[in-house]
Symmetry: C2
Subunit: 393 residues, 2 copies
């Protein structure tokens, strides 16, 4: 186990009807002027918008709104939000939505206290300072884990480029998590969200750092819980228990508890970011295609096999084939593919209409034309990436 | 799953040599005048005392000391500490030790801001206020989990009575956790500590609240990790990996993550507090005697069987005997008894020299002479408690 520091101060307010507490809770945390940020009209159709407005009004809070956050949230809207914050003297940001809305607020909060363009912070040119407008959220999409994480990802739609930054001060002050708010998520979005949280767990789980038993086991617990509950939520979208388990898993997969004491990999997220830079593909769908292919590819590598076997035996309860442990690892990959397929997610690039035309460019971008490798569980070279992309076809 | 709120803002600073950061870290959190609280001479023998003094001095912090904390920490020392805090204008409390030292600091921190006698807070007569002197700690005994918990337990040695109070503001600001500092713990103390943390997990795990899969699984992860690492640490006291796993488990077992979304039981802790009120017995030893006996007793109760079977199959990987699930549950109890016995802990009251003479009185105290029951997983009546004590003989 490596030395580590872990702190996640976000207050989780979990359960039915909890969104009605948002006004009181904001007030308790010193809010007086709130910017209410959201995406499209879905929160108006569902009635959530009205409940939020009522709660803010009942608490006597002044607020104004910024709608229009889109998936892969845009820096242009972040800039607009910063202007509003400065003009109105906003002292709290309320994100109502999923990771895109929360990430928009996180970057906005730091951008207000930075004199230059907020993109400097997002792309890492300038380090975030010690001041920011705090963020709270009502989560409607369990996936990114931004409701407790210390990072955010924003796109510059004009370049195009998708990148992000982090700070311990970036974790939301509180997150309101009502699983009922996820009943209306389309099945594809539910599945993509679950793939994203599984990936957050796996990017940390597949690590060469030895002696991380507790961290491994909590990660396996998250994976098992998602695996069990995703099919239930797809079959019965208003199954409260399944929706609640998924929501809790999304948060715990990404608040970095599963990263305690070890090196993390993040190859699959890196690859997916490159692919979705060229093609319009949902983040979870990209991860669904790459993750099992990557695991299958690494089952050829002797150093990676033990952890892949541990994953297969502990997460999927596959009996260990002592004479052929690779077969055990591959069965773990097959089970993951089955889950992905049953959830209606793609397993190949062809299924989402992506051809081989950008393979070389993607491999170049990930390795700076072959000058370095990607990932720490297995250091993927340019050649490895091309071989992997070939399996993903 | 029940609605719940969860927030644990304590910063965990984990790993080798981390105690050297204590001065800098205190300063970062605004400390100027520190009261350094500890137990006996063991931290002087080990050199930890000198390293703490050096770190505080290097950071330019003014500090004074309060040694003398004993197991089952005493309110008399808490009162003494409060006087020092007021006289010297202390603004941060540093606990170096285990739960007793941390709990002394926690109660002291709130006591300073209460005009009456601190026992009023401890025994629950008066609610703690919103002000307290913050606490940080260097943990040397993984057991109580006080390094992240929001509660404390203190004894009035003159009554005698052992009780406690809590507040969200009571969680330490940061906890320094260096597993190396636990190498010198005697085997009995190591085992008692592990029994305590297993009990913290089980008091929450054995719950009738349905649909708490993620919370169950994280609790099982903690139990499995302690079960695996306790024998290793006993066989090789300086096994860093085993000591690190145990230390991490102690914290996560008691920061209430394992309590999210469900009713908690706490019968065994209640019983142990009564027993140790009459007899000088280590907390972990008392739990080692009562817990398996309690599980065995509850395996007779149809409503309790499913969770006991889940525990046996998931934590101990015992094959489910579908025709006789009770046998599966009992095998789970036997495994726990084996672990306890191998760890050198007692399984009967006779082993620690306790007779039957106080059984009636204990049952009376726990049920107010039979007028109420104890525990939520199974509501133990006076008769149940007497029957259980009989099994513990």
């Amino acid at each position: 186990m490596q030395n580590f520091e872990f702190q996640c101060a976000t207050k989780m307010i979990f359960g039915k009807g909890t969104e009605q507490k948002v006004g009181e809770e904001l007030k308790k945390h010193g809010a007086t002027k709130v910017l209410f940020v959201y995406g499209g009209s879905s929160i108006k159709r569902s009635g959530l918008y009205d409940r939020v407005v009522k709660s803010l009004t009942d608490a006597g809070l002044w607020f104004t709104e910024l709608p229009g956050v889109v998936p892969n949230p845009r820096v242009s809207l972040v800039r607009k939000g910063i202007e509003i914050c400065r003009k109105e003297g906003i002292d709290f940001l309320l994100a109502v939505g999923g990771g895109s809305v929360i990430d928009t607020c996180k970057s906005m909060g730091f951008g207000v206290y930075y004199d230059g363009d907020v993109w400097d912070l997002i792309c890492g040119k300038v380090k975030p300072g010690e001041k920011r407008i705090p963020v709270a959220d009502i989560l409607t999409l369990p996936a990114a884990g931004s409701e407790e994480s210390d990072s955010c990802i924003v796109s510059d739609e004009t370049i195009p480029m998708k990148t992000g930054f982090g700070s311990p001060l970036m974790r939301p002050i509180f997150s309101i998590m009502n699983p009922e708010l996820t009943y209306t998520l389309p099945p594809y979005q539910t599945a993509c969200g679950c793939m994203d949280m599984m990936s957050h767990a796996m990017e940390r789980y597949f690590s060469r750092t030895p002696n991380v038993e507790m961290t491994d086991r909590v990660t396996e617990a998250i994976l098992q819980t998602v695996i069990h509950n995703l099919p239930i939520a797809l079959a019965k979208p208003d199954d409260y228990a399944a929706r609640a388990e998924i929501m809790l898993c999304g948060t715990w997969a990404q608040n970095d508890m599963t990263g305690c004491g070890r090196a993390q990999d993040w190859f699959n997220h890196g690859l997916e970011h490159q692919i979705s830079g060229f093609y319009d593909i949902a983040h979870g769908a990209g991860l669904a295609i790459s993750t099992p292919a990557w695991m299958e590819y690494l089952s050829e590598k002797e150093d990676c096999l033990p952890k892949l076997v541990q994953y297969a035996t502990r997460v999927w309860h596959i009996d260990l084939n002592l004479e052929n442990p690779k077969e055990t690892a591959l069965e773990g990959v097959r089970r993951l593919r089955d889950l992905i397929h049953r959830a209606g997610l793609p397993l190949t690039l062809a299924e989402v209409g992506i051809g081989t035309e950008k393979f070389e460019e993607i491999a170049d971008l990930m390795t700076d034309c072959g000058s370095h490798t990607c990932g720490s569980f297995y250091a993927m070279s340019r050649a490895d990436i091309l071989a992997l992309l070939d399996r993903m076809k």
